[in-house]
């Protein structure tokens, strides 16, 4: 079905713009047209569907659902619900308080807090559109695995004393969960698509533009020499580079796709993208309102280690 965007790009580049196939400029233009049309089509349609699903899972309901479940089951559910529950990093604190107050174990809460930003619909859409469903599925699977494992480890470390003291004293009110009509769900979803697109469209265009230049002008296998599987430092370096790029997953993924076509190995690519989405300074600053330093450091350390391990495993397998 996505072939139609390749055909469209062929038509525009070769017939309308009359560019010579095979040279640098043509390659770049073709990449830009194919990817912008395809990505924006996917963003609009899939975000709308995801928002519809999300309208059934407000965090208040997720919280009620997770409370009192068997520990392992709760970790897996928390990670899975992290994908569909709406989340933005400014909501991290009330969400954290809400979970802890409902008696959801600390480790389970972290499984949710890790998967929610890391496995988000925008990242999955871009991966699906640019890399195909296999890579999107691998990202979804390993992302959930990282969230479950890191959450279990944090839970085992018994770090409750490193949660800010006042959090334990808060008594949370029970907000009623409004029942939405189908029309309200449609409106919510339309609004959500607009909100997300308004936030990311510029990054997506910029990312695709840079990706197009890399595609057209960077020599084949250029990256293989520097960042190939033979360089053991490539994975940790990719993770460190990924952290400050937070919230620009939308712009980063098209660039990464181009880099991968120039020889960046899959594991390094996955590790980089996970670091971009899962670890962010703004979120840590916000979480420092409810977590003490030691717990934040542990959280960052464990998540980074898990991501690096994922990177090495895929580099070895592929």
């Amino acid at each position: 079905m996505l072939k139609i965007f390749t055909i469209l790009a062929d038509l525009v580049t070769y017939s309308w713009l009359n560019l010579e196939p095979g040279n640098h400029l043509t390659e770049a233009v073709h990449f830009f047209i194919e990817d912008t049309t395809k990505i924006f089509f996917l963003l609009v349609t899939i975000i709308f569907v995801v928002a519809m699903i999300r309208s059934f899972f407000p965090p208040e309901r997720t919280r009620r659902f997770l409370a009192g479940k068997n520990l392992f089951v709760a970790h897996v559910l928390a990670a899975a619900l992290g994908v569909v529950t709406p989340f933005c990093s400014c909501s991290a604190c009330p969400l954290f308080i809400g979970f802890v107050e409902a008696g959801i174990p600390l480790g389970v809460t972290f499984s949710f807090l890790i998967s929610s930003p890391m496995v988000n619909e925008v990242a999955l859409i871009l991966l699906f559109g640019l890399f195909g469903w296999e890579i999107a599925a691998i990202y979804l699977g390993t992302g959930l695995l990282v969230a479950v494992v890191a959450g279990i480890i944090i839970g085992r470390l018994n770090m409750e004393r490193f949660v800010a003291d006042y959090v334990w004293e808060i008594r949370m009110g029970e907000a009623e969960i409004p029942d939405m009509t189908w029309k309200e769900r449609m409106d919510y979803s339309k609004g959500y698509v607009k909100e997300i697109l308004a936030k990311i469209w510029l990054y997506v265009l910029g990312g695709i533009a840079v990706g197009a230049l890399v595609h057209g002008y960077v020599p084949q296998d250029f990256l293989l020499r520097y960042a190939g599987p033979s360089n053991p430092l490539a994975v940790p370096v990719a993770v460190i580079l990924g952290v400050p790029l937070y919230s620009n997953a939308a712009g980063v993924i098209p660039i990464v796709e181009a880099l991968m076509s120039k020889g960046l190995p899959l594991g390094t690519t996955l590790a980089f993208m996970m670091a971009v989405t899962a670890l962010s300074f703004p979120e840590m600053v916000i979480l420092s309102q409810v977590l003490k330093k030691q717990l934040i450091m542990t959280f960052v350390g464990i998540v980074s280690m898990s991501i690096i391990i994922v990177g090495y495993i895929f580099n070895m397998l592929m």
């Binding site: 407000p58 965090p59 989340f87 009330p94 609004g191």
Partner: protein, 77 residues
Amino acid sequence: MKIEILGPGCARCKALEANAKQAAEELGLDAEVIKVTEMGKIAAYGVMSTPGVVVDGKVRGSGKLFSVDEIKKMLQD
């Protein structure tokens, strides 16, 4: 009338505050718009996704940047 905007101060919360002020103004209501940034208070309302809107002590919506029209509806009934 008292309108409280719940949120730690992110861009969405500020936009919501502006919308709430505009909604009250357009309806000609004598409303006081207050920002609530303290986590304990936000949690006490049972709100887990910010920003949230509280009208006269009652949570009317959360987790979304409500439009001027949507807030007007909350203020009218």
